[in-house]
Every structure is written in structure tokens, then in C-alpha cells.
């Protein structure tokens, strides 16, 4: 794959990207912009009028009607190929819809279960017959679907599932037994994509009709947040499933499960980015109206700092999210749509970018945590009360760091996948890591820097972050070898450095693209948000890298590496107050997140 013309996952670490090749939200076309406002209109017309019942009374039955309504508006069909009644949209469009639907609160989770994880296994792994049978109905909302992987005894370790499927003597059915839990939309779905072990050992995907004898839907879970979404267990007692309902190949259920998680992760990155914007929109107008000491809150430095820090973090999420969407679309566009294996091959293209999918999931969900927390704080006591939406946003946010693979699991995956690609020869990682190691242990350059160009210093920080990823991961791989997978703290620090590098580079590319198109003045807000973030991030990167080094080598070797690291992380501080002020002015004027 390394000689392919399209990019591959993790490649950003090893090469420069031309800003013109980086997809950004500024590149949306007219249809995409109209889709976005239509999703907003859907939320305003159908979801917001029932917010009380959904979010505070926890009426989980409303989701079904809302899904039907969303179906008639085409909000469930973006992922479904045109041949099966869908729109076959590209990933950028799908992410935009996911981002926008986040404003619908709990319903966003309901929507995601139906249109994402409940749909995609059939799109990517179903036979033509299965696609014909289910997808047109799923696209319109006539068929409700959900996804069941987790069990009481197996969460992150999904392959340890205990649900079994035994072939009947006549060879026509599998008889299933087991329990799946935390199944979104289970209470009103007609079908479920469910994983069970054939003969107790071959992990396999199935499409199970929930009206089958022996299926029991458990009681609604009493959750901390997303109270309007239905979450139940599915109990299977001698449930007969026709053999033609096996999804994909027998014993290859993990291909489905892990690939669907990849897509789920980047969609979650989109919805959490939307959630962060919602939090900021819910807080900023309040800070303009509320006066203390005869001044609006938004005139106080510490409130302005919060507004600016949250906006800058959202800018990072948004930039890496749509950059990744663009990468996926470029990769998928290289496939022949007429190829019978097109759908299966497109999920393989997504798999190429599992590093980016994991990074977006972790990064954007943690930006949402920051946004919810800081925005609630801006409202003071009112933020703690249900009269304002931040109390709910704060509770709802929490699940995003847990589902679609916990942030801990995803952190382990980031360096793990980079090394896997390196071993397979898909990424010339080891050579690059060696080059950086040589640079770190070599003599410093005494070149005198001239007057820096616009964002030149910050671009250097980004380049250095990428080098630090190579240095730390290369070092850890060399030191620990196959045992590295057990060094969870080291891996998490490397994952954090990698995410910072990817986020900062994505924001830099987006800003540069804007500068090239509309000039430095038009890109001033983007440049300010990027500058604010990248300097703070370099401090964190420095700490994480020092910890990795200290956890990996010692003595003279450690001292030499740390000296090299100091050269890479060296940067003069910026006037944060000035940046905060410039960013906050724009966000306050827009009454919410803006990059314009």
C-alpha cells in the first residue's frame, strides 16, 4: 500500500501536507451547507419542542417517532449506497450531518445507532440479498436497527463474548443464547446487528430479527445522561436465526466489529465537535447579558479566557475532523464505484485511517469535556441548574469518553497502529525515527534565526511535535520491543503527543489554506486560535515526552535525549491575554463558535 497514490493513515507524521490538499469546513459546497441548515431545522422543528420530555423526563419512547421523521427527511440515508435507496454521501457530508445532529442532544445518539452502527455492517459486509432486504427500509426509517456487541462480561475486550450460536441439525438455523447490554434503540428496533460465537469459538456477525421467539428486551438503564435515548439489554434464549442471516464470513465477526468502530469513532468525533459548539452557544449569550459589578461577565478577563480557550480547542477538533474526512474521501474516490466489492473495499480504506479515527474520537470527546465544564462554569450557579442546558450538556458529555472504545483503549491503539503499519512496511517509520534520534543526540545547529514570517515559528513547533512523536515512539519500540504493548503509560503519553501533533498540524494547514485564499487578515481569527493552542500544546508535549524518555531510558542516554528534546520544544511564550482578547471578541460577537 505504501506506493499508493492516495495518502494512508499515519502518513502525516512522515511527510509534509500541502494546505491545498487539506479538506476544511471552508470547502463545503452548496448542497452540504444546505444539508447542515436542514439538520438544524429538523432539530428546531421536531426535537427542541420535546426537550423536556426527552431529556428531563427521560421518555425514551419518543426516539422512535423522531427517527421516522428523520427518515422522511433523508437524515438516515447518507451512509447507504444509492443502489439501495440511500444517498451514498461522502464522508465529509456524513460528518457534517453527525456534527449538526449533535444539537438534538440524546436524539443524536438514537440517530447514530440507527444510521451508523446499525446500518454500516450491512452496507459494508452484507450480501446483495441482505442489502436489498434491509437497507431501503433502514434508509427511510421504516426498519429500525441497532447494534449489539457489548455483554455484561465483555466490554473493551469484545472478542471475549459469551453469546453462542449453534447450528441446528437440519443446517437451516443457528440457535442463539446469551445477553447483550447497553444496546441503544433496542426497545423499538426491528432488527439488531449482533455478534455471537458459532460453536462457542467462531466470533461471527448476524442480523437478528428482534421479534423472534426467545428474544427479551430488558428494562431501560437508568443513565447519568443522554436520558432520552433508549438503552436496554437484549436477552437471547434459544433464539432461532436463519443461516442466511449470517453477516460476513463465519469466524470473521471481528472484522465487522472493529471496522464499524472505526467509522463510529470518526462520527463520534463529529458529534462531539457539534456538542462543543452547542455548549459555547449556550454560554456566550449569557455572559453578555449577565452583569456583575455592573459589567457584563464577558468583559472579565477570566471569562474571556475561557471563551477563547474553548473556541480554540473546538477549532482544533473541527480542523482535524474534516481533514480526516477529506483523507478518507480521497482514498475512497480511488475505488471504482461499479466494482461489486466497492462497499467492502471502502471500509478497508477507512481501516487504513484507524489511527486518525481513534485520535479524533479521543481528542474531540475531551474537547467536549472541556467545553461542557468551562461553559457551565461561565454560568456560575445557573449552570448547575436544569433551567439552563449546560447542566444537561455536562451530564451528556460524559458517555462520549466511554463508548465507541474508551479513550484509554483508543489511546493504546494510536501508537500500536503506527507500529503495526511500520512493521508491515506501509509506513517508513523506523528510518524516520532513526533520523530524528540522530538529530536529538547530535550537535545542535547554531543557525541564527531571521525575522520570522507569518506563523513561521508556530509551524516550526508543529514540525517539532511530529519529530517528537517519531523520537519517543521509536525509542520506546526499540527499548521495549514486543513488550511495549504492556507499557500503557508510555503508550498513552505517546498517543497524546501524536494527537497534539495531528490537531496542531490540521489547524495550521487550514489556516494556511485560508490565508492563501482570502489573505492574512481574513485568517486572523484562525491564526490566533491556532497560535494560542499550539504554544500551550507544546508545553504538554514537552512534559509527555520527558515522561516517556524517563520511563524508557536512564543515565547518560536519558540526559542526551532530554537535551535534544529541549532543543525541539524550545519556544518563547506568547502574550496569551492578547490572543484571548482577540479570539473572545469574535466569539462574543458571533454569540458562539466561529472561525471566520
Amino acid at each position: 500500500m505504501s506506493d499508493a497514490k492516495y495518502p494512508t493513515g499515519g502518513e502525516f507524521l512522515l511527510q509534509e501536507t500541502d494546505p491545498a490538499d487539506c479538506f476544511t469546513p471552508e470547502d463545503f459546497d452548496e448542497n452540504q451547507r444546505m444539508f447542515a441548515t436542514t439538520v438544524d431545522d429538523f432539530t428546531a422543528k421536531h426535537v427542541l419542542p420535546v426537550v423536556e420530555e426527552l431529556e428531563y423526563e427521560g421518555d425514551t419512547t419518543l426516539g422512535k417517532g423522531l427517527l421516522k421523521e428523520a427518515g422522511t427527511m433523508g437524515l438516515l440515508m447518507a451512509d447507504i449506497p444509492e443502489a439501495y435507496g440511500g444517498m451514498g454521501s461522502n464522508k465529509a457530508t456524513i460528518m457534517l450531518i453527525s456534527e449538526k445532529i449533535a444539537h438534538a442532544g440524546s436524539f443524536a445518539v438514537t440517530h447514530g445507532a440507527q444510521s451508523g452502527i446499525g446500518t454500516l455492517p450491512i452496507v459494508y459486509f452484507g450480501t446483495d440479498e441482505q442489502k436489498q432486504k434491509y437497507l431501503p427500509g433502514i434508509a427511510t426509517g421504516e426498519i429500525m436497527t441497532c447494534y449489539a456487541l457489548t455483554e455484561p462480561g465483555s466490554g473493551s475486550d469484545a472478542l471475549a463474548a459469551a453469546t453462542t450460536a449453534m447450528l441446528t441439525d437440519d443446517g437451516k438455523h443457528y440457535v442463539m443464547n446469551g445477553t447483550k447490554q447497553y444496546i441503544t434503540n433496542a426497545s423499538y428496533s426491528e432488527i439488531v446487528i449482533l455478534f455471537a460465537k458459532i460453536d462457542g469459538d467462531k466470533f461471527t456477525g448476524f442480523i437478528v430479527d428482534l421479534s423472534s421467539d426467545g428474544v427479551t428486551i430488558g428494562a431501560e438503564e437508568k443513565k447519568m445522561g443522554i436520558k432520552g435515548s433508549s438503552t436496554c439489554a437484549i436477552i437471547l434464549e434459544d433464539v432461532k436465526v436463519p443461516v442466511e442471516n449470517v453477516l460476513g464470513e463465519i469466524g470473521k465477526g471481528h472484522h465487522i466489529a472493529f471496522n464499524i468502530l472505526n467509522v463510529g469513532r470518526f462520527k463520534l468525533g463529529a458529534s462531539t465537535t457539534g456538542g462543543s459548539k452547542m455548549a459555547l452557544s449556550a454560554a456566550v449569550p449569557y455572559t453578555k447579558d449577565r452583569k456583575q459589578f455592573e459589567q457584563p461577565l464577558c468583559s472579565f478577563g477570566l471569562i474571556r479566557r475561557k471563551i477563547a480557550d474553548v473556541a480554540a480547542a473546538i477549532f482544533m477538533s473541527e480542523s482535524m475532523l474534516y481533514r480526516t474526512a477529506g483523507l478518507l474521501d480521497v482514498a475512497i474516490d480511488t475505488l471504482d464505484k461499479k466494482d461489486a466489492g466497492y462497499d467492502r473495499k471502502s471500509i478497508q480504506q477507512v481501516e487504513e485511517f484507524s489511527i486518525e479515527c481513534s485520535m479524533i474520537k479521543v481528542f474531540a470527546s475531551e474537547v467536549l469535556a472541556l467545553s461542557a465544564d468551562e461553559c457551565l462554569q461561565m454560568l456560575g450557579g445557573y449552570g448547575y441548574c436544569q433551567e439552563y442546558p449546560l447542566e444537561r450538556i455536562y451530564r451528556d458529555e460524559r458517555i462520549n469518553r466511554i463508548f465507541e472504545g474508551t479513550n484509554e483503549i483508543n489511546r493504546m491503539l494510536v501508537p500500536g497502529m503506527i507500529l503495526k503499519k511500520a512493521m508491515k512496511g506501509e509506513l517508513p517509520f523506523l528510518q524516520a525515527a532513526q533520523a530524528v534520534a540522530d538529530e536529538l543526540t547530535g550537535l545542535p545547529s547554531f543557525e541564527e534565526p531571521g525575522e520570522p514570517e507569518f506563523l513561521e515559528n508556530e509551524a516550526k513547533l508543529v514540525a517539532n511535535m511530529k519529530k517528537i512523536v517519531l523520537a519517543t515512539l521509536g525509542m520506546a519500540a526499540q527499548k521495549f520491543g514486543m513488550e511495549l504493548k504492556d507499557q500503557q503509560e508510555v503508550l498513552a503519553d505517546i498517543a497524546d503527543i501524536t494527537m497534539a501533533a495531528y490537531a496542531c498540524e490540521s489547524a495550521l494547514l487550514r489556516t494556511k489554506k485560508k490565508v492563501a485564499k482570502d489573505g492574512e487578515e481574513a485568517a486572523a481569527l484562525m491564526a490566533n486560535m491556532f497560535t494560542l493552542y499550539v504554544h500551550d500544546a507544546m508545553e504538554d508535549v514537552s512534559t509527555w515526552a520527558r515522561n516517556v524518555m524517563a520511563g524508557t531510558v536512564e543515565g547518560d542516554e536519558l540526559r542526551t535525549m532530554l537535551a535534544g528534546l529541549r532543543r525541539l520544544t524550545k519556544h518563547d511564550p506568547v502574550n496569551r491575554t492578547k490572543l484571548h482578547d482577540a479570539i473572545a471578541d469574535k466569539v462574543i460577537e458571533a454569540e458562539g463558535y466561529t472561525a471566520e
Partner: protein, 259 residues
Amino acid sequence: MKIAVCVKQVPDSETRITLAAPAAQLDDSGFTRVLNPYDAYAVEEAVKIKEAGGEVEVTAIIAGPETVKETLKKDCLAVGCDKAIIISDPELVGADEMALATAMAAVIKRDGYDLVLTGIKAIDDDSGQLGIILGEMLDMAHVSTITKLDLGEGSLTAEREIEGGKEIVEASLPAVLTCQKGLNEPRLPSLPNIMKAGMKPMETVTCADLGLELPTSLSTVKTFSPPPARGECKLIDAEDPAAAARELARLLNEEAKVI
């Protein structure tokens, strides 16, 4: 049956209005533009007539610059109108209702329509004259403020809002009707229909194309000004109602000088 729906693009009601100094003109650079909500009832009613069966063609007619295309596509063509006509002419910028109706009437006469629907008014200038003038210019029956419509063979029955009740009006076709809230519930476009809308015909005409000379506008907007700042509210803090009343009377007499 051919139905014309006369629509207008207006600033979103949540758009923050700012005045461009010093000419006191509206600064419309940051406006979010949408279909006039009353015109959405007209569009929906036309589409419902079409969906009820028979050979019906619905054409949305709008006057305005290039920016109206987005509104036409998303809020007219994507919800079921068959085609759109844009009257794009610099002379129409800032023109009054008489000039606008003259241009729209010319298009309607050129193509020939059995039914003309429009909103009772546009939410930007709130003038509410277009439908009435069109009825007169086209020599068609005119029913305003309708909240219910039944079409018969060559005729119609409409309910219209009047003070304290409703009036049931029968009229012959062709007719011009202005639509009021309550007539229907406008649908939102679906995503696939937004995509298909891009393929529907959109014609742009100028007044010259129509062989038209617009009447000089009888009114022009000279200046916009924000409403005056409200005075401060004074709360009377008194021990009992009688004392409060005495204080109120004193303030009205001495400070406000109204009694």
C-alpha cells in the same frame, strides 16, 4: 393547472440588524437569508395541490440578486416546486411594491397561470401589498389572508381570517390568494430532494427581456434608525399602597409632568 408562487427572500428573523455608519443604511453583509415564512405557506399549499393529483405544475417566481438562488433551491424546488423564475434586474433593487408587482405580473401574463399564491406579507418590510396589486393588475379574483383552501372545477372556496371570526369566500379561477399562518404546516426539504433540486430548471429574466418599463417607485427608503433607547424603569419603594400612590402622583406631576 399552472400555479405561480410569488416569493421573497428576507433576512432570518434572528439575524442581528446592524446599521452601516454614517449613511444609516442596513449593513446586510452578515445577513442569513431565508424564504419569507408567509411565502412558505404559499409554497406548501401549491405543492399540496400538486400532490392531490392531476396535472399541476408549480413555478416559484422571485425578484432579486444571485443570492436568491439558494433560497429557491432549498425552500422552493427541494420541497416540490417544479421550476423557478428569477427576475434579476438592477432596477428592482429597492423598488416599491408597485414596481415589483409590475415585473411579477409581466412574468405571470407571459406564461399564463390559473392560480397565483403568495404570503400575506413579507416579514422584512411588512407591507402586505403585493398580492392585492397583482390581483388588480392581472384582473384576477383576489382573496386575502386565507387559512383554508378547497379547489373546485374552475372555482375555489377559501376561508379567510377576519376580525373576530372567519369568512368563507367563493371565487372563480384564475385567482390570486394571499396565505396566512394556519393554512398548512410547511414541510422541510429532505436531503435527497435538495440534491435533486439542483437539476430543476431555473430561468433568469430581466425587465428588458419582458419588454417592460417599470413605473417609478412612489416611495423610497431614505434612512433606517434603531428604535430610541427606552427610558429607565423606576420602582417606587413605599411602606403601604397609599404612600406608593402619593409618590406615584408626585412623580407624574413633578418629573414626568403629565398630570
